[in-house]
Amino acid sequence: MRIEITRSGGFGGLTRTWSLEVSRTEAEQRWLPLAEAAADEGAGGAPSDGSAAGGGAGPRGRGPARDRFTYRIAIGYTEVDLPESRLGDPWRELIDRARAAGTDDGAGTGTGTGTGTGTGTGLRDAGPARSSSADPGKPEELL
């Protein structure tokens, strides 16, 4: 099963996407429960890195952090948005694996008009989840 990780925000506002393939068993036993738990927690989770309370610039930019990264992790049809401050060790391991897998889908601005595929966890809006099938390795053209 394909897992796609999109990182947006940061000082530069550069969006980057990485992906990796995991077995269906691994996805169902390890990552999907974690994604669903994270979605249930919403934006209320505690930051994991000792930063200011409420840490990340999560959905609707709540919390005092500015210029931090936001991660969108898509596991099949399930998507979860996580501010960097809420990334626990399992997610960090997954991101490291995806980056190491060398399937960097390139960087772009994430400004495409894609409707996304987020039908799984009922998050607020699916947004422009980059379709990695569209010319991988090349950034999306602007509108």
Binding site: F11, D49, A52, A57, G61, D67, R68, G110, L142, L143
Partner: protein, 348 residues
């Protein structure tokens, strides 16, 4: 006491002129007098200083810096490596952060009479060497945090003064307008950090508006990247064009406004529009940008006309009002600001 304008720079005179300490009233009067002899712009500013922007108690703060080293871990704040007045550490990132905090403090304090990010001398903190190959710099609500970069795309983030001043201005915004970090108000939050970020650098370099690069983050890309900086206030959308990074996505006008859910609604993208408006106003006025346009933007932020969910039009109106209030309804400053917002399509 006699102050000679040829020796004391105008920004120092302005600072002295704004002093409210009765023990220094002679120096303060002399500075106000010296400012009157400089030029019409400074005359207006000297008069305007009679009506201080800051409300409440006139706390005279001092500069207090603390730089920490995270030792490549992602834990804050890390170990204190340099406190205020301590000698240089020899570590480039720590010393750049220390100097950058000072330069940012000086702009707000000496030009606008605003001590630190909260107006009351709050200690300024920075953490360097955050994480491993960490390619970002951010404001966590209490301090600035800098990574060393991945070495492939980004080098260390303290290498550009504009990055340090950008992050610290997020602190100023948090304690003043507290613009919500989403959509247009988020883009304004970003724009204020870029605007005062470049102003800090321009003032340190003594550059007039016409001579400045107007770049944010110049020098933090490695040589492998096709690009000069992360953003350009002069020409949004032209800072980089690279195989891996793609093209600088910033619009300069409302006609190219980008609707997106990523990046908190494109806060680092649509900031190009208010950024360019500031550039247009500053270059129309000429001279040091922190004095004319910068002063107006600062006044607007503290003027009460910017709600947390402020949109571009409301912000534009607040700067127009601030320009008229400080420089006069028919002043060239007010005209330049109004025209800039028209040119970027924010006001009709």
């Amino acid at each position: 006491m006699h102050i000679r304008c040829s020796i004391v720079p105008p920004h120092l005179l302005t600072r002295l002129a704004a002093l409210r300490d009765p023990r220094l009233s002679v120096a303060s009067d002399a500075a106000r007098h010296a400012l009157l002899e400089l030029d019409p712009l400074l005359q207006i500013r000297a008069e305007a200083l009679g009506a201080p922007v800051r409300r409440g108690s006139a706390v005279v703060g001092t500069l207090t810096r603390r730089v920490y080293d995270a030792g490549s871990r992602e834990e804050l704040p890390g170990n204190l490596v340099r406190g205020e007045g301590a000698p240089a550490t020899g570590d480039a990132a720590a010393d750049e952060a220390y100097d950058g905090l000072g330069a940012t403090y000086r702009l707000f304090s000496e030009e606008y009479g605003w001590s630190s990010i909260d107006g009351a001398g709050k200690p300024l903190e920075a953490t360097v060497h955050y994480g491993s190959n960490y390619d970002n710099a951010f404001w966590d609500g209490e301090r600035m945090v800098f990574g060393d970069g991945d070495g492939e795309i980004f080098g260390r983030f303290t290498a550009s003064l504009t990055v340090i001043s950008h992050e610290l201005t997020h602190g100023f915004t948090q304690y003043s307008s507290n613009l919500e970090y989403q959509g247009q108000s988020g883009a304004l939050n970003e724009s204020l950090s870029d605007v005062f970020g470049v102003l800090v650098e321009q003032r340190e370099l003594g550059q007039d508006a016409a001579d400045a690069s107007w770049l944010v983050g110049a020098g933090i890309f490695t040589t492998a990247v096709e690009g000069t900086a992360l953003r350009s206030l002069k020409a949004p959308g032209t800072a980089y064009d690279d195989d891996i990074l793609g093209r600088d996505p910033q619009p300069a006008t409302m006609a190219d406004y980008v609707e997106t859910a990523a990046d908190n609604g494109g806060v680092h993208i649509n900031s190009g529009i208010p950024n360019h408006a500031f550039y247009l106003a500053a270059t129309t006025l000429g001279g040091p940008a922190w004095e004319g346009a910068g002063r107006i933007w600062f006044d607007a932020v503290l003027g009460g006309g910017i709600p947390p969910q402020c949109d571009f039009r409301t912000f534009a109106a607040a700067t127009n009002e601030a320009a008229e209030k400080r420089f006069g309804t028919d002043s060239r400053e007010a005209g330049a600001v109004a025209e800039a917002w028209v040119q970027v399509g924010v006001l009709p």
